[in-house]
Amino acid sequence: MSTALDDIVVLDLTRTFSAALSAAFLADFGAGVIRLDLLPAEGGRGGARSAEGWNYEADLVHRNKQSLALNPGTEQGRKLLVELLAKVDVVLTDWQIDELQDLGLDYAAVEKQRPDVVYGRVSGFGPVGPDSDKPPIDELAAARTGMMPIVQQPGEPPVYTGAGAMHSTVLLAFGIMTALVHRQLTGEGQCVDTSLFAANMYGASLDLQAFLAIGHGDRLLNPISRKDVSNPMSGSLYPSSDGRWVTLTMPDTDRWWPDLAEAVGIDADDERFNTHDKRCEDNRLALIEALEAGFVRQPGAHWRGIFQAKQMSADVIEQFDYPAKDPQVLANRYIMELDHPSFGAVKSLGFPLFMSETPARLERLAPCIGQHSGVILQELLGYSQDAIYQLTSDGVIAQ
């Protein structure tokens, strides 16, 4: 089966998990992603390892990529970078501007040589403004975005979720694809910028947009107790008898009330709760108490059975072991079982997108540093075996 991006070559200049994953995402759909591993490569391939030594992080964020290990401190290394730029369609980076400038890989320099390149960069806080030079650390961006003080229960410390970094992964990939579609039609390249700050803002969009519109409101500035939730049937949390939590999203309470009331043992005609306004305003706190008392009578499995049978928009809150075993997850390849050459049968994150004609595929796991230096120089840049041998022995490249 064909892939969507097999006519695209991407130069991957990334350091963070989220940006490296963005390049891997393009590789999953067939782009030829060349990861530049700078020499000297101290400590080998970075990434978190399992107890057995599996670099599971690299095998996710660098899957389907090739590695070119190159020493940019040499004249020949710099020449190779220029030759490489002549062959790429996309540059994808999370480096700081001064680091890029040092290697002649900043947008201004790249554009001069290759105006048709799509140059995607994720920064910490955006390309302009007083904080444009701050490092791309997601915790810093998340702390600035306003959600950390309000997602937890009152009195608890702020919570960092990591969702913003992952949002930046897909924002950058989307921006690059949009620019590539524009380039297909016009031949024109351009610079694509996103940031961890922007990504955190979009991850928190509803509360943030609400505050932008309203401009005040204690309930948007402080954590809301789960016993004071605005709609007892939507966004609410109740403990079941085995300690597992149940959550409901039934914003249209009229539609769901009869089924829910019956399930938890409340009379659907109870005069305290028989209209939407009574449920969500007049007797809101009483309904929260009543649902709490109802849900705590049975274990999580009981509630899942009822939600399933009645096709209700509610579920039990699970830990990671649930998706790891969920047949639905495996059927859709959201998690894959794969045969690792060194570690045998392992499970790894799969592909969040289904495409009928150009599906994502796993062609290879993370490359070793310099694994493809030779083949890239030979096939992409037209070097002879002798020249490649010489560059290797001179320490310009490693393979």
Partner: protein, 403 residues
């Protein structure tokens, strides 16, 4: 007016609530001609968000109007054969069909992929299902009930506390950008091959990817990543949240002797700098609880403003933990167009909206209008785009296919 990246791309946006609409919003921001297809009675349920009480709404319906900006609206009753006939003509003239309705409902309305690709083989047919196309699960899906299954909620917060939702709309927003990315991939491929395809960006699949760093660690055998972990026990106390007397600050430093010495100096905490328990990276990890408690005691004596001034002066990487009132005034956000102003018909004034989180230098994206009135473009689209005669339009109205 600047160029638009997606000029000439027409998108049929048969979506409701949040994930689907925000996906099409990204395409509309970059210049695609997005036609929102709505039922004549009430339209997208999100138009009624005011009455559900789950979300704070000001004097204008920001929930609906922002994610449906730059779109047109056509009202069609798809339960009627005449409505389907109009839809088919729209499909002929479009590049993308996007829906987050249940696949069974689309099938019942004659809008399956098999049917629509007969009409237009170049069509990109995108769905946002709840749980994916395979495996058979089809119960109603909302952001939080799907997030519940991924395991990401259960591991947040201090041990013993309830699970934590990542924020209203967090999973939908992520599913939305995922879907927009998928559509762009398919458009790129179609421009090469001349052929369309169908794709699905489900809420479950997106939210599992959202958990990637942690879920991948769990899959590799690190069972602890599934569990709540206290900030009082993080391995590197130099990368942690600390309380000021008013707001918290987030300190993000590697666990090195040099940075620890600098931090102690910035906080005027000489007693910690000289404490033998904290004399090396290993010792700081071994005595993490004691060090965090000691740092808590120091930081909580000062306001976050004073803390940040000292930390900044010393070159310690840190940020105040801001609230939404701080964010909406954040100069960095405004200068980068993460917030923008747009005219709102509903209240006849400029309002502040989420702007453009990704910028393209030559085709930067725009906000021209906020969300459309229900069916506001029905007649003009019927005449200009679909080229129906006025008497045909009258006949459709008489049958109730359009209002």
């Amino acid at each position: 007016m600047s160029k638009k990246a997606l000029e000439g791309i027409r998108v049929l946006d048969l979506t409701v609530w949040f994930q689907g609409p925000v996906s099409a919003q990204y395409l509309a921001d970059f210049g695609a001609d997005v036609i929102k297809v709505e039922r004549p009675q009430g339209g997208d349920q999100a138009r009624g968000v005011r009455s559900i009480k789950s979300l704070e709404i000001g004097d204008w319906n920001q929930y609906f109007l922002v994610i449906n900006r730059n779109k047109k609206s056509i009202a069609i009753d798809l339960k009627k054969p005449e409505g389907q006939e109009i839809m088919y003509r729209l499909v002929e003239k479009s590049d993308v069909f996007l829906s987050n309705m249940a696949p069974a409902l689309l099938e019942a309305w004659g809008l399956s992929y098999d049917k629509l690709k007969e009409i237009n083989p170049k069509l990109i047919y995108a769905t946002n299902t709840g749980y994916g196309r395979f495996g058979g699960v089809s119960k109603p899906s909302f952001d939080m009930t799907v997030q519940a299954l991924t395991g990401i909620m259960a591991r947040l917060g201090e041990p013993g506390q309830p699970p934590i939702y990542l924020g209203m709309g967090s999973g939908d927003a992520f599913g939305g950008i995922m879907s927009a990315f998928g559509i762009m991939l398919a458009l790129y491929q179609r421009n090469r091959s001349g052929e369309g395809q169908c794709l699905d960006a489900s809420l479950y699949g997106a939210q599992l990817y959202l958990a990637a760093p942690l879920l991948q660690s769990f899959l590799a055998g690190n069972k602890g990543t599934a569990l709540q972990q206290s900030r009082k026990q993080v391995e590197n106390p130099l990368w942690n949240l600390y309380p000021g007397s008013d707001k918290w600050v987030y300190i993000c430093e590697p666990n090195s002797d040099e940075r620890f010495a600098l931090l102690c100096k910035a906080l005027a905490a000489d007693e910690l700098a000289g404490d033998k328990r904290f004399g090396s990276a290993e010792l700081r990890t071994e005595h993490n609880e004691a060090l965090i408690a000691a740092l808590d005691a120091v930081t909580s004596r000062s306001s976050h403003g004073d803390l940040m001034a000292s930390l900044d002066a010393a070159g310690i990487v840190a940020s105040p933990v801001n609230n939404l009132a701080d964010v909406i005034k954040d100069e960095q956000a405004w200068q980068n167009n993460y917030f923008m102003k747009a005219y709102c018909e509903e209240v006849k004034r400029e309002v502040d909206v989420r702007g453009l989180p990704v910028a393209l230098s030559k085709t930067p994206g725009q906000i021209n209008t906020l969300g459309p009135q229900l069916g506001q473009d029905t007649e003009i689209l019927m005449m200009d785009l679909l080229q129906y005669e006025w008497d045909e339009i009258e006949a459709f109205k008489a049958k109730g296919a359009i209002p």
